[in-house]
């Protein structure tokens, strides 16, 4: 099954998110990730959704979403040229013996250390799915104590 990224513009009003999320639940679709935030227009929010499903399912999802009074526009940007980012905060075990190696790794991935504890570091990383996965894999051997990541946000590239 293919993962689809949908950019959904909705009116920035109370209850819109629960309407959208509820629609997915009751129609039996799975949301892989969901990010919502205001756009350049304060009255409009953008929901970036990652949904798994074949073409038929995605078409149904889009049509059902489009019927909602507060949904303005839906775009399936899966096959577009996009810039996509997600963010990761990861607390990794880092005794004195490992610190240097972790810091070098983070240099390669261009991540930032945002907190230093006695036996741990918190690392902040942004990137696309592949990069985030790679960072997590490379830190695994040191021992991951805590991990939190956002869903994906995406934007279609400008015309060249």
């Amino acid at each position: 099954m293919v993962k689809h990224t949908l950019a959904v513009l909705v009116e920035n009003r109370p209850g819109v998110l629960s309407r959208v999320a509820g629609l997915f639940a009751r129609r039996g679709y799975n949301i892989e990730s969901l990010v919502v935030g205001e756009t350049e227009d304060k009255t409009v929010s953008r929901i970036t959704l990652v949904v798994e499903g074949d073409e038929r399912v995605i078409e149904q999802v889009s049509k059902q979403l489009n019927k909602q009074v507060e949904v303005i526009k839906i775009q399936d940007i899966t096959n577009e040229e996009t810039v996509e980012r997600q963010m990761l905060l990861i607390k990794v075990s880092a005794g004195p013996e490992d610190r240097q190696e972790i810091l070098q790794l983070m240099e390669i991935f261009r991540c930032r250390v945002v907190d230093i504890g006695r036996r741990s570091l918190i690392i902040e990383a942004t990137g696309d799915e592949g990069k985030i996965e790679a960072i997590m894999q490379s830190l695994k051997p040191f021992g991951i104590k805590e991990l939190v990541r956002t869903g994906k946000v995406a934007m279609v590239r400008g015309a060249k």
């Binding site: 009116e11 209850g15 149904q60 489009n66 009074v69 526009k73």
Partner: protein, 567 residues
């Protein structure tokens, strides 16, 4: 002007002259104003009665039904009726009271999150937190309930909004963002559709409830006259084409007419108009008419490709589509020669009639046919849900426009009586015939009080088989006759029950009594309840078992006494 006055004035401006409801603490201010207005309020005996009545009213008039209830239990009692209207696409404006804005979220007395509860079963719903939003919300809700595919819309109004002050604006401007309209593709598809129809050998038109919503009865009749294409309907489409003259082959699906289902299985082009291909029509959607070219026309784009594979999708109102198609066919001078197709259909109708055998016990089909035979002036026919509903669909030819009312999608037992009441209010002076069962009647029997109060011409034919017939039938066929909880071993005396409410009642217990008592009931000026003691073992046949193909019908074929499967 305060909020309550504003709401009443708004309803008056929209031409609302009748609402159904039930008062309570949170809506006292609204009722105070409503009671002094020109709008008639029908006090039902349960909120469920009010919402079903608004539903029946909307279905027979084509107008938007309006229903009021208080907060908490008043609002939650509407839930079944809202879901019912949602699944059958009936426009209803539901206004519920809510605890004051300051009290929301504190589990206050009679507080329920009705907006949260009804989100999946309304077209849209609103909680008004500031009175300033009232004008726009009312205006938009009214529009949303009617436009496109109709449906119920709920507005939850806190107590203090009724008392707050608001101006009646001269002109209302919406703060909504403009949506990009959906391309309907009608013009592009018309050429293709004409091409497909030109080559069609066995075309069939399948009309659903969308044809009723669109008011496309005349256009459909004209199309049928021009093309000679046979018509089948869904339960929701029943009556969209007068059934007495044989204009329609009847209903298709699980309990469809044999000839209609056989034609459906054999057609090479299917024009499906305003229908959502429910599982009661398709059986297993994966195997539904895989070799047929399906043209699917619906006003709701989300219905296209939802359940079955289709070849030519069109987003359009049924009325507009039929007008455009007729025009295109006439321009292209397309003529149809369907003689051999019709011969085949007539042969099926002869070989596989809708059969039942009379006996010493009264059969439900017999009563229904007797009522149909005697009833004049195209009465409104209403049903509850279950076996009797399917018998009516099969045996009662419906004639008039918007004259068949039934709970199609949700299959709500208890819908019948309050819906019949609403229908009687919607079309004063017309006879309303309700077929119901002993199960369904007991769910909302309290509305007999309202029917008696207003002396509504509602003729209730209650087919009493002392059991939940459809449940019993499934248990007989699929659970080896284990009749778990489907048989009523005790019941009220229905004649006394009706008379206690002030409604005249008779009982038909033998087949030979039917003729005289049906006549008596129909001629009696006010409401009547006729209890018909029917054969409890009568099954609705034919029956396409769940997941089967349309032609795979269980029935008694060729005069056999046992049940066998066609196809």
């Amino acid at each position: 002007m305060n909020g309550a006055e504003y709401i009443v004035k708004f309803l008056e401006k929209k031409g609302v002259d009748l609402v159904f409801g039930y008062p309570g603490g949170a809506v006292l201010f609204l009722y105070d104003v409503l009671g002094r207005s020109s709008i008639q309020h029908i006090l039902t005996r349960h909120e469920q009665g009010a919402i079903h009545a608004a539903d029946g009213y909307a279905r027979v008039t084509g107008k938007t039904g309006v229903c009021l209830a208080t907060s908490g239990p008043g609002a939650t009692n509407l839930v079944t009726g809202i879901a019912n209207a949602y699944l059958d696409s009936v426009p209803i404006l539901v206004l519920t009271g809510q605890v004051g804005v300051e009290s929301i979220g504190r589990d206050s007395f009679q507080e329920a999150d009705i907006v949260g509860i009804t989100m999946p079963i309304t077209k849209h719903n609103y909680l008004i937190k500031e009175i300033d939003a009232l004008p726009e919300v009312l205006e938009e809700a009214w529009k949303v309930a009617r436009e496109g595919r109709p449906g119920p819309v709920l507005i939850d109004i806190p107590k203090n909004v009724f008392t707050g002050t608001v101006d009646f604006p001269e002109v209302l401007s919406s703060t909504r963002k403009q949506k990009i309209p959906f391309k309907n593709g009608l013009n592009k598809q018309l050429g293709r559709i004409v091409g497909v129809l030109k080559k069609a050998q066995r075309p069939l038109l399948f009309a659903g409830g969308g044809v009723v919503s669109a008011g496309a009865e005349e256009e459909l009749a004209e199309f049928v006259k021009y093309s000679g294409i046979p018509v089948v309907t869904s339960l929701m489409g029943k009556g969209v084409i007068p059934e007495k003259e044989g204009g329609s082959l009847g209903m298709i699906g699980m309990h469809g007419q044999p000839v209609a289902n056989l034609a459906l299985s054999a057609c090479d082009v299917l024009i499906a108009l305003g229908t959502r291909f429910s599982d009661r029509v398709t059986g297993n959607p994966q195997h539904f008419l895989t070799d047929t070219c399906i043209i699917h026309v619906d006003i709701d784009p989300a219905e296209l490709f939802k359940n079955v594979h289709i070849d030519l999708p069109v987003v359009s109102d049924a009325k507009k589509f039929l007008q455009m198609l007729l025009l295109a066919l006439r321009e292209a001078k397309v003529s149809f020669t369907l003689n051999s197709w019709w011969e085949q259909i007539k042969a099926w109708a002869q070989e596989y009639p809708l059969a039942f055998t009379s006996g010493s016990l009264l059969k439900p089909q017999e009563v229904i046919r007797e009522v149909a035979r005697q009833a004049e002036d195209e009465p409104i026919v209403v049903t509850d849900v279950g076996q009797h509903q399917m018998f009516v669909a099969q045996h009662y030819p419906v004639q008039g426009k918007r004259s068949f009312v039934t709970s199609g999608g949700l299959g709500t037992m208890g819908f019948g009586l309050p819906a019949a009441m609403g229908a009687a209010f919607g079309r004063p002076g017309e006879t309303v015939i309700l077929f119901t069962g002993d199960g369904g009647l007991q769910m909302t029997a309290q509305e007999l009080a309202v029917i008696a109060q207003y002396q509504l011409p509602v003729k209730v034919f209650m087919l009493n088989n002392s059991c939940l017939g459809m449940v019993r039938q499934w248990q007989e066929l699929f659970f080896n006759g284990h009749y778990a909880q489907s048989v009523f071993t005790s019941g009220p005396d229905y004649l006394k029950l009706a008379e206690a409410y002030g409604v005249k009642a008779w009982q038909i217990s033998k087949p030979e009594e039917a003729k005289a008592l049906v006549s008596k009931a129909l001629q009696h000026p006010g409401p009547v309840v006729v209890e018909c003691i029917v054969d409890p073992e009568e099954n609705v046949l034919p029956m396409v078992p769940p997941g089967g193909k349309p032609n795979e019908m269980l029935g008694r074929w060729h005069g056999e006494t046992h049940i066998s499967r066609l196809g």
